[in-house]
């Protein structure tokens, strides 16, 4: 749990127990980095975003998930100040992004979904070019080291591999020493090792205390990186929570699955287990459980008593992907 998340939990506990102090706590609490209320974005007749609310606190890594065409990129572009909201209020670092002054942009780092290399420039020159845009940039060599591109400093940026190019994008977003960083699908098209390296870069940003607004298609990525997740589908927020609790994930039943030798008589199973047991086409037996410890104990006790082996035994929680697919298919 990050420092900010812990602080938030403490604040919630505190305000629940001492009602009278709630007003004071609210006033003391720093303004969230991003606060969106009733955001609507229309393109002509088409309404891409139907009034969404979002709050992102300082120091948080916030993942924004949703299928293509759900309004994800539109929302991010409104937050980045590239598009004007049709209705609702948007505040990013205390400003309406559409009317924010230049100094506001200096507090922001943006990794766009797609952006080409600066043609003809070396990796270090690209970073130096962007450093010149900011009043108080980070050190260039140090930033290259942070994203692991020190060795490629003298290479033409256009010749870097896909993963290295993406890390250069991160370096360009970081060079202004921003408080808030937008990462729009930072690892799309990466191989697994490049993705893992990118995650380590994000871990580095977390240690620097940056607030990160991340969009991604990969549930594994959101689960690994995010403190909090919101899911958008068809222009509406359909769920919000931590990776552990999104969409009531923590309340869903756990699946216990195993194989048995055909000769074993299932009738001898304890009735409490037998009545919940289902067998699929491959012969795998599945048990839905809300009391995993007790069920496993009963099951393994039964197996040991009869000397049978529980083949391919697996205990699995619903994955974030299961929850996500369920959430986004309802629309």
């Amino acid at each position: 749990m990050t420092r900010a998340a812990r602080a938030r939990t403490l604040t919630v506990m505190f305000s629940n127990s001492v009602d009278a102090a709630v007003a004071a706590t609210d006033a003391d609490r720093p303004e969230p980095v991003i606060r969106v209320h009733g955001l609507v974005k229309r393109y002509g007749e088409h309404e891409a975003v139907h009034g969404i609310d979002l709050v992102v606190q300082r120091g948080e890594i916030f993942a924004f998930l949703g299928p293509n065409g759900a309004g994800k990129t539109t929302t991010v572009e409104v937050l980045e100040g590239f598009r004007q909201a049709s209705a609702g209020s948007v505040s990013v670092l205390g400003h309406d992004p559409w009317q924010a002054p230049g100094a506001w942009r200096a507090r922001l780092g943006i990794v766009l979904q797609e952006s080409g290399a600066e043609p003809g420039l070396t990796t270090r020159e690209c970073v130096a070019l962007y450093a010149g845009y900011y009043p108080a940039p980070r050190n260039i060599d140090e930033t290259l080291a942070l994203v692991g591109l020190s060795e490629q400093a003298g290479e033409r940026a256009a010749k870097l591999s896909g993963g290295q190019r993406r890390r250069l994008d991160v370096a360009l977003a970081l060079i202004g020493d921003p408080e808030l960083i937008f990462l729009d699908e930072p690892t799309t098209g990466f191989d697994p090792s490049a993705r893992r390296a990118a995650w380590e870069v994000v871990d580095g940003l977390r240690r620097l205390g940056k607030t990160i607004f991340l969009t991604t298609h990969y549930m594994e990525e959101a689960e690994r990186l995010a403190d909090r997740i919101a899911v958008i589908a068809a222009g509406r927020i359909v769920a919000e929570g931590t990776p552990q609790t999104l969409g009531g994930r923590q309340l869903e039943a756990t699946q216990i699955s195993f194989m048995l030798d055909g000769a074993v008589d299932l009738q001898t199973l304890p009735p409490a287990l037998a009545e919940r047991l289902a067998r699929d086409d491959s012969g795998l037996l599945r048990l839905s459980s809300t009391a995993v410890t007790a069920d496993l104990h009963a099951l393994s006790g039964w197996a040991l008593e009869r000397g049978v082996e529980l083949g391919s035994l697996e205990v699995s929680r619903p994955t974030l992907e299961d929850v996500y697919l369920q959430l986004t298919s309802e629309e």
Binding site: A48, R105, I110, S115, A128, G132
Partner: protein, 304 residues
């Protein structure tokens, strides 16, 4: 020539590295050994420093682009050599004075190289940068749009100045075409006004183009026909009045006409046409107004 520029840039960089304080490594948090201190950023040093910063990198980008080098420098020189080789012994009338076509082709090809450097290269480069999201990424930083535009314009002026110098030196050394000093100053003025006007037009046209692929053909279609009717390849005295009237509407004719004056006159006033400069300025204003209305930094095919 480019070798020379490259060499100079390398020397300059080496000097910069030496100038960096030796104890800069202390600033490194990550413990990296080869960290150099950066000094105050361009943005911290004010708007002029920012424009110079942007122009320096834009210039570097164009000097390293094989396309820009070929189109902007090699191509005009090759054409000059060919045209003078083929037609150099003929004569024509420029502003009432009978001159060798050698003298005619120097300002003609200079006009062409200005259009290529300020218009063609800019349209192709801006559409490319915009469609690949580079412009959007630059605009995601605090850099003002005016700095990006001024930097690009300044880099274009330097580019044109380099090409013009090479052209004039080649003409003098190999073809004995010389200009009086005031006429040379007038040529420099016309070149500057022409470059800025065509850069504005370049921005406007790149704003009308929807994709990177469309840039090249659009440039050729708008540029090539005008070269033939604007006194670049063919003296306008050889054209029908209708074609001459048509050419008068467009800016290339006014650029080339003013440049041609400098080849036959010796005073500054006679070597530059105020009318032509005003027409170029009007085109620049029109193009600027169009940009303010239509130009976008985001890719035209931007996803929603």
């Amino acid at each position: 020539m480019f070798f020379l520029i490259k060499r100079l840039m390398r020397l300059w960089r080496a000097r910069q590295l030496r100038a960096a304080p030796a104890d800069a490594g202390i600033a490194a948090g990550a413990g990296a050994a080869n960290v150099t201190a950066d000094g105050p950023s361009a943005a911290a040093r004010g708007p002029l420093a920012m424009v110079l910063h942007e122009a320096g990198y834009d210039l570097r980008i164009s000097l390293r682009s094989p396309r820009a080098r070929f189109m902007g420098v090699a191509f005009p020189i090759v054409l000059l050599v060919i045209f003078i080789g083929v037609f150099g012994n003929d004569h024509t009338l420029v502003d009432g004075t009978r001159v060798s076509l050698k003298v005619f082709y120097v300002p003609g090809i200079l006009a062409m190289s200005i259009v290529v450097n300020a218009y063609a290269s800019l349209v192709i480069s801006i559409s490319g940068l915009r469609e690949t999201g580079v412009l959007k990424r630059r605009r995601a930083t605090p850099v003002p749009a005016s700095v990006l535009i001024a930097g690009q314009a300044l880099a274009t002026v330097v580019n044109t100045a380099i090409t013009a110098t090479i052209l004039l030196v080649v003409s003098r050394l190999f073809y004995g075409v010389t200009f009086a000093a005031p006429a040379l100053a007038a040529t420099a003025c016309t070149t500057l006004v022409g470059t800025l006007a065509f850069a504005c037009i370049g921005y406007a046209v790149s704003g009308m183009i929807g994709s990177q692929e469309a840039a090249q053909p659009t440039v050729q279609m708008t540029m090539l026909p005008l070269w033939f009717i604007s006194g670049v390849f063919i003296p306008i005295t050889n054209l029908s009045p209708a074609l001459r009237d048509l050419a008068d509407v467009f800016p290339v004719q006014h650029l080339s006409n003013s440049l041609h004056l400098a080849s036959v006159h010796a005073t500054f006033g006679a070597s530059i046409s105020a009318t032509d400069m005003l027409v170029l300025a009007a085109w620049a204003l029109g193009a600027g107004a169009f940009c303010a209305w239509r130009f976008s930094w985001l890719p035209a095919g931007a996803s929603r």
